[in-house]
Each structure stands twice: as C-alpha cells, then as structure tokens.
C-alpha cells in the first residue's frame, strides 16, 4: 500500500473539482484518479434513445472514499460501468490515472480493468467451480504472472481479508460474508488504482454488512481509493464523500468532515 498518511488525506474541494473537470482535453494531474468531463451515455432501445447519463462531471482524488448514490434509473450503474471501464461513454472524456480511457478499444479496456480496477459485486461473482485461492488468482492469470508468484500474491491478498484458513474452499462452502471477502481479496490482488464496489452489501444480512463495511473502511484508511455504488443511505454514510445522481446528472456532491466509523450514530443523526 501507499505509505502516505490517510486518516487526514485531503478531500478534494468543490473549487478544485470544478477546475479539473472544466479543462476539456487537458490531462489531469496525477493526484486525480478519476476525472470525467461531460460524460454522456445514450442507448438505442429499438429506435428510442434512452439518455442514461446526460453530462456527468466527476473528479475523484487519490485515496478518496466516495459513495455514488441514487435511486434506480438515476444512471449510477451506467456511471459505474464507465468508471469500471466495462463500457465507454457516447460523449465526453474519462481520464483514469492520467490516461484517457473513454476512446479505448475493447482489449485496451480489458488491460486497464486488469491493472487499474478492482471490482466487488453485489452477487460476489466468484467462479463456482474454483477455490477461493484460484478465484483470487484469476486477475493475475490475465496479468501474465507466473503460477508460483500468483499463488503467493493471492495467498497474501486472502490474508489481508483474514481468509487464509478458507483458501482451498469453493464458494459454495463459504458464507456470504466470506464470499464477499474473497471477492474483495480478488479485487485487491492486482493493487488497483480504484476499488469499485457495486452494492457490496446488497446480498448480506446486517451483521455481515457491517463486517464488510469495516473491511472497506480499513482499506480506505490504508490509502486505497474506494468508490462504492449504492442506493442505501446508511451504506453511503460510511464514505467521506457522497455523489448523488438523479436523472443522469449529478444532483449533489457532499463531503463529510468526519470519518464515520459508527454506523448507529449516523442513523441516529439522520433521524434527528
């Protein structure tokens, strides 16, 4: 992990963000992991044009822990797919780590996904027939790492999520929380620039959810850039910054001064 201190990592300010998102065509400085400028995504649904994103400007600095929120249909999944390099925007720029990825071809995007992005999905998306270790090794396979090195790296990633003892179990022999931790280990194994979590607690009970959220918090504290897509406010409340989407546009971008560790406190605060 990076060796800078993170608890006090600087949150980007609104002014800084506006500055970086407005300079079309200019490569953002290395501080900015993600910069989108006027991203649009349109789908042709049998002749009818659906505008999922209508010009989204988002800038995320290294080490930020950001939640993207919004009701279903707000375009947050589309934004996540673009940020995760699974999809490309119809229009606009997307800079990931100083590289313009919005105009890349499929195979280049695959390489970027492999190196820069760690996905954590709601439904875990583990290969059912492979062991936990093998699942974690998978990104390294596509990175072209040797078998021996792969094993070691994957074992270390599983150690980080405290699953060393379940290394040789298959997903159906693991609990939901354990599966999600395997998925997190897999997302981390390539040291990605961003950890991209899509409703990571959506399929988990509340106890397991807070367990998993704790893992994300720890990772964020260690300096991992985390982007979490969710529609649950109490999950989003764990993040230090919440970007809310509505009708394919950013409706609000709020930062929290305090790093919230205490889930119940937030819920109380909201009630009050």
């Amino acid at each position: 992990m990076s060796d800078t201190t993170h608890a006090e990592a600087p949150l980007s300010t609104t002014a800084e963000r506006q500055a970086v998102t407005s300079q079309a065509g200019v490569t953002p400085s290395r501080d900015w992991v993600i910069v989108t400028r006027g991203i649009k995504r349109e789908y042709d649904m049998g002749g009818e044009i659906v505008r999922a994103l209508r010009g989204v400007d988002v800038a995320i600095r290294r080490n930020e822990y950001v939640a993207i929120m919004g009701p279903s249909g707000s375009g947050k999944s589309t934004l996540m797919n673009i940020v995760g390099c699974l999809d490309t925007p119809t229009d606009g720029e997307y800079w990931l780590n100083g590289t313009l990825v919005s105009s890349m071809k499929d195979d280049e995007l695959a390489r970027i996904r492999n190196k820069e992005i760690g996905f954590v999905f709601q439904t875990f998306n583990l290969l059912p027939r492979a062991t936990a270790l093998h699942n974690v090794e998978l990104p390294l396979v596509y990175a072209g790492m040797s078998a021996k090195q792969r094993r070691e790296t994957a074992a270390y990633a599983l150690e980080r999520v405290q699953l060393t003892s379940r290394m040789h179990h298959k997903p159906n022999e693991l609990s939901g929380g354990q599966r999600q931790r395997v998925a997190i280990a897999r997302a981390l194994v390539n040291n990605p620039s961003i950890l991209l979590a899509d409703e990571p607690t959506g399929n988990l009970d509340s106890t397991t959810s807070s367990e998993i959220m704790k893992v994300f918090e720890e990772l964020a504290e260690q300096g991992q850039t985390v982007i979490m897509v969710t529609h649950e406010a109490d999950i989003a409340a764990h993040a230090r910054r919440v970007v809310a989407l509505h009708d394919g546009q950013v409706s609000s971008d709020t930062r929290r001064e305090r790093f919230v560790n205490d889930n119940s406190h937030i819920i109380e605060a909201k009630k009050g």
Partner: protein, 415 residues
Amino acid sequence: MLFFESIRLALNTIRAQKLKSFFTLLGVCIGVMFLIAVVSIVEGMGRYMEQDLIGKLIGVNSFELRHRPNINMGDVDPSVWESYRRRPRLYHDDVAPVVEALPADTRWAVVSDNNLPVSSRYSGGPRNAQISAIEGDFFAIRKFVVAEGREFTPQELEMGTPVVIIGPDIEKRLFPGLNPIGRELRMGGLPYTVVGVLETQGSAFGLSFDNQVFAPWQAPVHRLLNRVPTIVDAIIVQVPSASQMTEAQERVRQVMRTRHKLRPGQPDNFSLQTSESALEFWNKLKRYLVLAGIALPAIGLVVGAIVIMNIMLVAVAERTREIGIRKALGARRVDILSQFLVESATLSTVGAAVGIALGVGMAEVIAALTPLPASVAPWSVVVGVGLGAGVGIISGVYPASRASLLDPIAALRQE
C-alpha cells in the same frame, strides 16, 4: 498457463458430466476408431500381400513365363481376356531354349497344375486337390520345405516315376492317423507312392496352401492337367539377385518372341509375371482402400464436429456469467477465445484418444476373428490425434468467438 488451465477445465467438465461427454465425443470417437481400424487392416493386408501371399505364389527375385498372367486381381477388361484366350500356350519344347538362354547360376522350374480328385484306400471318397506336375528347382524357388520324407530325386524327375509329395491337408484327409510315407495315393485311376510331406504353408483369405499334391512333370498325371499333354502352365525363373531380373526377363522375352515368330512391333503374346506386376493391382486397390478408410471416418468426424460445436455453444451460454467475470477481471478477447478453443480441442482429442484405443482393439478383434490380417500404422495414430485436435479447434471457433465477443456488462447481468 492459461493453456493448461483450459485443458484442466475441459477435463474437469468431462469428469463431471460423463454421460453428456460420452455423447459429445461419440462422433469423433467413432470416426477415429474406423480410421485406425480400416487403415490397420489395409496396412496388414498390404504387408500380407507383399510378404506372404505374393512371396509364396511367386518367390523372391523370380518371374514366371506364362501364356497369360495367373494372378489377376481386380477388373480385367473382356477384350484383354479375349486376347489372352487367343494366345498360344507354352509347350514343353519351349523349356530347353529358355533355360539355355539364361546364365548358368539361374534356377528354373516347370509347372503345370489343375484341380483333380485324389483318393486313398485309407479314407472315404475322393477329394479335390491342386495337383502340380513339376520339373527343375521348384521347391527351392518357392522355399517349400519337405517336413517328412524326401524331395524327388533327379532320376524320378527325369523318368516320371509315379511318386508324390503332398501337403499337410492331404496327409490329414487321406491318411488319417497314418504315416503317409511309402503309402499309396490314387490320381486319375493310377497309383502313386508318397515320398514326402511338405511343411504347412498356411492360408490366405481362408484358402489353404496345404491342399496340394506334387508329382514329377513326366509322371502320367501331367496328361490330365491340360488339354494337350505337352502344354506347360509356367516356366519359373529365379535369378540370384534383383539386379539380374531385367536382363533375365529380356533374354526370355527374346527367345519366346523368336519361337512365336513375332515381328518387331507386334506385342508379346506371353506374360512375364513378377511379384511386382502381381502387386500392381493391389497397390492400386490399396490407394482406394486408404481413401475409403479416410472418407468414411470423415463422415463421423463431421458429425462429431457438429455435436461438439453444439455442446460448446451450450457451454458458452451456460457460462456467460463466468465469461463476464473473466472479462471484468481483465480477460481480453483472445484469452476467452483461446480458453474455449483449447477446451473444445481437449474434448475432441480425448474423443480421438478413446477412438484410437477402440480402433486398435477393433483391428485386433478383426484380425483374430477373420482371415484379414491387421497391423496398426503409426501414422494413422498421429493422424487420429491430429484430426481430433483439428476437429475440436474447427468446431470450437464459432462458439469461442461468440464467447469472446460477449459484452461484459450483459454477461455479468445474466443469472
């Protein structure tokens, strides 16, 4: 690394779904099995033809002067038959001039043969056997070995003494449980004394070589073998080495052309038959058989390819989510493509391997149960494995390319 992983995955699939895999691989399996079996039999027959059958019928470094070839495999045109029929026969008077024209170290023999009933007082009714009247070094040229008794003496050959050497079948039938040497055998109403019994020559295509009786050419029986008693069926010539074959044949040809008063330009009206000329037709037939041995399994392979393609399409559909996951984690198109190609090639190669094993087994069974010999050709095994992998790759191309073109987002969404 991804390569071995794909192979492992394919083998796991086969292990997990045995029945489905069995049906998947059946086509390739049967195709390769027949390829191996047919080629084995063709090879075995070829070896048999070249080494045993023709060798026994004609002998090494030897040729036979006949009025027409007696080994005619395959179609002979009716007009050719007609010209054969009009050819003059060979007569015993031809023997001396032919032998004189040959170098001193050349072996020669004269033979006439026909099927006639033979009988003895030790068994029931007469039995048909191939009767040959011989002169010269017949046994030496044909490598016939007298197992019991003795060969003919030069005096017996010259005088036409009524003595015979018989094959083991005749011994068994006409002298059951008896030592035939010195006993009497009757042909054409005359008695002959058995002086020798030949070693067994075995059989080809169910036809025994042991049902034979040999007598000196001058013995009375030669009168029964041909319409005109002085006709000889063949004059056999054996030269010491292969290099002398052409020269010897040329000399015999000149003598016979003179004796038959042929003008230059007129074709020969006799035949010089070598083991090669006898094998000519076999070689032609062999080409067709090998072609058939490849064409018939090809049908099985095409069916196999279609089945594998279908199974791979199902596999791609079933594993859409897996493909989505792999793509999200950084698999490029070529990674997905090669994964499924290797998988279908592995499937198909396993089918081919099973087919090779079954084909070898089938060849062995056929060799054991029928007179057809079989010998597995190493090249057919290589071709079998190659075909297996090839069929797998070809039938995997479409499903694999479909898999590689899947949109990761849609693939991940699939349940």
